[in-house]
Amino acid sequence: MRLPRRGASSPTPPAVVAASLVVAAVCVLPLAVVAVKAFEIGWSPAWHLLWRPRVGELLRNTAALVALTVTLTTAIGIGTAWLVERTSLPGAKFWRVLMVCPLAVPAFVNSYAWVTVRPDLQGLNGAVLVTTLSYFPFVFLPVAAVLRGLDQSLEDSARSLGLGPWRSFFRAVLPQLRPAALGGMLLVSLHLLSEFGVLAMLRFPTFTTAILEQFQVAFSNSAGSLLAVVLIALCLGLLTAELLLRGTTRHARLGRGAARRALPARLGRWTAPALLGMGVLTALALGVPLGSLVYWFRAGSGGLTESTFDPAQLVTTLWGTLRLALTAGVVTVVAAFPVAWLIARRRTWMSVLVERATYVASSLPGVVIALALVTLAVRYARPVYQTSVVLVAAYAILFIPRAMVTIRAAMAHAPGELTEAARALGDGPFRAFVRVLVPLTAPGALAGFAMVFIATSTELTATLLLAPTGTQTLATAFWSASESIDYAGAAPYAAALVLVSAPLTYLLLRRPDEEPAL
C-alpha cells in the first residue's frame, strides 16, 4: 500500500499510540470470543451443526434477500439520483429532501407500518419490499453527491464521438458512479445481514433472526456462535467483494481545472411519468409509515383497540434512551479520537491495521457483538454483567467508525504544523493539544457524536440481549409492544424513534458531499 507522505510530522505521543492499540484490541475482542466459543464445540459436532438443512435454508434466504434488495435499491437509488441531479425534473430540491427522509424511519418501524396496511405481508416478498423502501437512500445519497459534482465534459466527449444520450450515459457516466454506488450497495448488504426487526416481524428467517432465537431458547449456546461465525464469514466476503469490484480505476480528474457544470437533460414528455414515479416512491416509503402512525394514534386514543400504552412510561423510556445514547456518543467519540489522530498523523501499516480493526467488528450485526460481550462479562467481569456498562461498550464497538470518519476529516484541517507552532511559542504538549487540536476537531467530534447518538437510539438486537433487566429503550419498548401485537401501544414509541432520528436526516442533507457513514 502506498501511503501519502506528510510534511513536517511531529512524533505521535506514545499515549495516543497506546490508547489506539487498546481501542483496536477491544473492538477485535468480541470476534475472538465468538470464534473460540464456536471452536469449543469440537470439529465433528460443529460440522454436524453447520452442515444441516436449516443452515442451507438460512443461507438461501439471506442470499435471496441480499440479491433482490441490493438490485432494487441500486436501480432505484441511481435512477432517482439521476432524475434529481441531472434532469429537468420539476422541484428537484424538494425531491432531493424527500429521497433522504426515509432514513429517519427505522426499518423495523417501516415493517410495522406495512403490516398495518397489509396484514398478510410476509416472507421474501414482504422483506424485499420493506427493506428496499427503507434502504434505497443509502445508494441515493452517495450517487447523487457524485452526479452533482461530475464534470459534464466527459459526457460531451462521448456525445461528440457519436454516442446517443443513453449510450453516453452508460459509457461515460455510469462507470464514474461505480465507487459511490458500490459503497451504497455494501452498506445496504451489511444492513441486510444484520437486520432483525423487519425480518422477525415479516416471518422471514435469516442468520440474524436465527441467532437471536437460539439465544432466547438456550441462552448463549454454541449453536448460536456457530451461526454467528457463518455470518462473520458472509460479512467479510461482502467486504472483500466490494474491494475487488471497486478495482483500481482512477476516477479523479487530472489537474485542477474547472469542472463544467452539467446541463440538465430535458425530460420532455417523460416529465409526467418521472414525477408520477417519484410520487409513488415517496408515498410508499414515507406515506405508508406516517399514515400508519396517524392511524394507530387515532385507534389508540379513540379506544378502538386495547392498548397498554402509558405516557409516563414513554417519558421514562425516552429519558433512558437519551441517556444511553448520550453516554455511548461521548464514550465512542473519546475512543475514536486517538485512532483518528494516529491515522491522520502517522500512516504506517500499523496505524492502518489499527484503523481497519475498528471497522471489522462494526460491520457485524449487533447480536453477534452482544453475544460475545455476554460471554466475556459472565466469565470475567461479573460486576458489570447485565449493567449499562456492557451495553455502552457494545454501542461503542458497533458505532466507532461513524465517529472516526468525521473526526478524521476534522483532523485533516488541523495539520501537525499548527500544534508545533503552539509548542514553539512556548505551550506544553497538553496546552497545545487543548488550545489547538481540540477546538479545530470539535465540529467533527460533534458530528460523530450525533451519528453515534442516533444509531444508539435506534439499535435493537444488541440492546435486546444486553439491556439491564428493567431498562427499556425506545427501540425495545416499541419491539415488545409490537411483539404482543399491541400496535396502538407501539405507535408512540415508533413516533418518538422517528423524531429522534430526524436530526440525522438533517445532518446528512447539510453535508451532501460526503458518503453517509451509516
Partner: protein
C-alpha cells in the same frame, strides 16, 4: 472560532452530564443493582402476578423483596452461568423444562414438605426440589368459519399429517412451545417426537409467539393453532379483539396435546436467606397465594389444594391431561431435537 468554542463547550457539557448520569446510579437504575439484604427473586413468570405475590408477601411477613425479570430459558441459563455465586434466592418459571435445567446443574435446595403438600400431586416434581405455583393448559384455537367441528384433529399428533400442511400455526421458537414438545417427547418417545417435529417444520406456519398465533387464527390466516389457554381467556375478558372469531378445543383423553404445563418455584442452594425463601414459596402455594392467582387477570390455573381457579376457565380436573412427572421434562434434549428438525 466562537462557533467552534460553543460547540466544544456543548460537547464538554453533555459529556459531563452523561458521565455523571452513568456513574451516579440515578433513580432509573435503582433496583437494578441487587441489594444483598433483600430477598431476591428471579422471575420468568408474568410481571403482574409476580408483583401481586411479592407485595402481599411483603405485607404479611415484613420481608422485603426485589425482583429481576427475564424469560424461562435465558434466566435458567443465567442462573447456571452464575453458579454458586448467583444473587438469586428464589427462581420462578412459567414452564418446567427451564427449572429442570437448573435442577440438573445441582443448584436447587429441597422445598419444605409442608409447601409441597399444599399443591396437588401432579403439580410438584418427584424430586421435591421445586414446587408448582400455577399451571397452563395446551389448547387448539380454531376459527369455526374456516373449519368445521368434524374436521378438527382429535390429537395434537394428527397435525403432522400432510393434509394439515400450511393449515396450522405454532409459536415454535418460544419456551412455552418447548414445554409442549417436552411433553410429547415424554409421552411418545424420541422417534415419534422427531417425526412430529418434521411435520411441524414442513406443515406449520411459524409465528413469533402465542398471541400472534391466536390473532392469525382469528384473522383466518390459518384455521387452527396450538397455544396455551390463558391468552384466549385474557383476550375474551378484555376487548376480544384477538379472539372474537375463535373457539378453543381441549384434546383431553391424556393426549400430549392436553398437556398441562406447570410453572415452578424453587429455592437456590446458594441462597444465604434460605429460610425466608422457603417462606416465600410456602406463601405462594398457600390458600392466600393461590387465591391471589385465581382472582388476578393472569387466567392461569391455581394448583393449590382446595383453591378454585378462575370460574371462566374449563375446570382443570376435567382436562384429562397426560400424567407426566414434570421433573422428567427435558429442555436440552428438546432443543437438540428441534435443532435437528431444522426449527431452531
Amino acid at each position: 472560532m466562537i462557533v467552534r468554542r460553543t460547540a466544544l463547550l456543548a460537547l464538554a457539557t453533555t459529556a459531563t452530564l452523561a458521565l455523571t448520569a452513568c456513574g451516579g446510579g440515578s433513580s432509573l437504575e435503582a433496583g437494578k443493582n441487587l441489594d444483598p439484604t433483600k430477598l431476591t427473586i428471579y422471575s420468568a413468570q408474568h410481571q403482574n402476578l409476580t408483583e401481586a405475590w411479592a407485595k402481599k408477601f411483603q405485607e404479611a411477613s415484613g420481608i422485603t423483596v426485589q425482583i429481576r425479570y427475564g424469560s424461562d430459558s435465558s434466566m435458567a441459563a443465567q442462573i447456571v452461568q452464575e453458579g454458586a455465586k448467583s444473587p438469586a434466592d428464589v427462581f420462578l418459571t412459567e414452564n418446567s423444562p427451564a427449572m429442570t435445567t437448573v435442577q440438573n446443574a445441582g443448584l436447587l435446595a429441597k422445598v419444605d414438605d409442608a409447601t409441597i403438600s399444599q399443591v396437588g400431586a401432579d403439580y410438584a416434581p418427584s424430586t421435591h426440589q421445586w414446587v408448582g405455583i400455577a399451571a397452563r393448559s395446551t389448547v387448539l384455537v380454531y376459527n369455526p368459519s374456516k373449519i368445521s367441528a368434524a374436521e378438527l384433529p382429535t390429537s395434537i399428533m394428527d397435525l403432522q399429517d400432510p393434509k394439515w400442511k400450511g393449515r396450522w400455526g405454532a409459536a415454535a421458537g418460544g419456551a412455552d412451545f418447548q414445554a409442549i414438545v417436552s411433553a410429547i417427547l415424554e409421552t411418545q418417545g424420541q422417534d415419534k417426537t422427531a417425526a412430529w417435529l418434521k411435520g411441524l417444520k414442513d406443515g406449520a406456519q411459524i409465528y413469533q409467539n402465542n398471541i400472534a398465533v391466536m390473532k392469525a387464527v382469528n384473522a383466518g390466516q390459518v384455521p387452527v393453532g396450538i397455544m396455551y389457554h390463558y391468552y384466549w381467556y385474557r383476550d375474551q375478558a378484555l376487548t376480544k379483539a384477538g379472539s372474537k372469531n375463535t373457539k378453543l378445543l381441549y384434546f383431553r383423553h391424556q393426549d400430549p396435546g392436553a398437556f398441562v404445563s406447570v410453572s415452578g418455584g424453587a429455592v437456590l442452594k446458594s441462597s444465604k436467606q434460605a429460610a425466608k425463601a422457603q417462606k416465600f414459596l410456602a406463601f405462594v402455594t398457600s390458600k392466600t397465594g393461590q387465591t391471589i392467582l385465581a382472582t388476578s387477570d393472569a387466567k392461569e390455573y391455581a394448583v393449590g389444594k382446595g383453591v378454585a381457579s378462575d370460574k371462566a376457565l374449563e375446570p382443570l380436573a376435567t382436562l384429562d391431561a397426560p400424567h407426566v412427572d414434570p421433573f422428567t421434562l427435558n429442555g436440552p434434549k428438546v432443543i437438540e431435537l428441534m435443532t435437528q428438525a431444522g426449527i431452531l
